[in-house]
Symmetry: C2
Subunit: 216 residues, 2 copies
């Protein structure tokens, strides 16, 4: 149970982080139309966070404490991946969210059915990522220089994101247990270790960059 | 009907503005705990905005266009009321939201019953204002110098806010018609004009400051 609460706390914290990124982008949006769109997406992130926090309370946990246990988790990652342009910022959200989502999708298999379907639903509700795909794919498709810069930036991002997940499971035992449990179920064998998990995350990243028409 | 859509657009725009203010405060919050609280309040503002936008669509209007018709409405007001401190910022939200809410509560009487009850519900859902009341009343109660500074700031704010509402109804005929209709119903007579409305808004402001223990 405490492992479940730990995973829910992590997911709630990632939604809080998504909110902060989108609200910041809204504040500097070039048009009111973009601003409104980003504000609505930021609101969606808060709603997903609230659903996860409500589940923590239902399970008898302290929602705020579970979330705040992850406070600062992305600080180092953010300091190491300051985007130089609007496009780099967009790709950062796409890659970083993508890796965290994939991690959670592996870890989710050990949860009770109700929590599991809630988490899957929350992870699936990624309109933001879809918006990024379209914008990034269009832009990169029409500009070879941008495409190769973004491909390079994507490699940098995924390296940092994988390092972040590594340090995350070192510090949060419950996440480590859940992701290894999930990995065993997926792989259908018992001697699965972290390297299997990271190979999966890397493969998913490659597919994700492929959807943008970019080499991983 | 187009008057109704105009009022709904204005309310949606005020919620967007509330979101922006709360998200900005969250980004500079002194602790993660405060940050989380402000993010949740910002999320509530987006949800209220979405409910109003959904009603515009139900009534056959273009939600984004109705909201964006008010784009920039608060720019001049904001430029003239830059808060010097955290407390001044808090009072600004309390006073500014309060005046806009009171205005909408007068204007709402001319709406169809379903829209009217939605708007009342949205206006009542002002947890943010309640948080401000407690924080401001506590702080002013324990600090006479702060209390008299805030009282002065409150007078400045309400003058600017009333000027804003004045220019708003000059530019938006539908709002003007609705608020005068509402005023006639409230006053129970037909020869009611804008000065009645502004006297009401001022009286409500005085009561609101009284709840903080501050002179208006």
């Amino acid at each position: 149970m405490s492992d479940t609460l730990e995973l829910l706390g992590f997911i709630a914290y990632t939604e809080l982080t998504t909110f902060t990124r989108l609200a910041g982008a809204a504040a500097t949006a070039p048009t009111s139309d973009h601003q409104l769109r980003l504000v609505r997406l930021a609101g969606d992130a808060v709603n997903r966070m609230e659903r996860i926090l409500a589940r923590i309370e239902e399970l008898g946990g302290d929602a705020d404490a579970q979330l705040l246990a992850f406070d600062g988790t992305f600080d180092d990652y953010n300091a190491r991946t300051v985007p130089g342009t609007w496009w780099e910022n967009l790709l950062k959200g796409y890659v970083g969210n993508g890796v965290a989502d994939d991690f959670c999708r592996i870890a989710v298999d050990g949860l009770d059915e109700q929590t599991r379907s809630l988490v899957i639903e929350v992870l699936d509700d990624n309109r933001n990522a879809e918006m990024s795909v379209r914008l990034l794919a269009d832009a990169a498709g029409g500009d070879g220089v941008l495409a190769s810069r973004l491909a390079l930036w994507g490699r940098r991002l995924v390296g940092e994101a994988l390092g972040l997940m590594q340090s995350l499971i070192v510090r949060h035992d419950g996440l480590n247990r859940l992701v290894l449990d999930g990995a065993r179920q997926r792989a259908g064998e018992t001697d699965v270790d972290q390297s299997w998990v990271f190979a999966q995350l890397t493969a998913e990243h490659t597919r994700r960059m492929g959807r943008l028409g970019l080499a991983a």
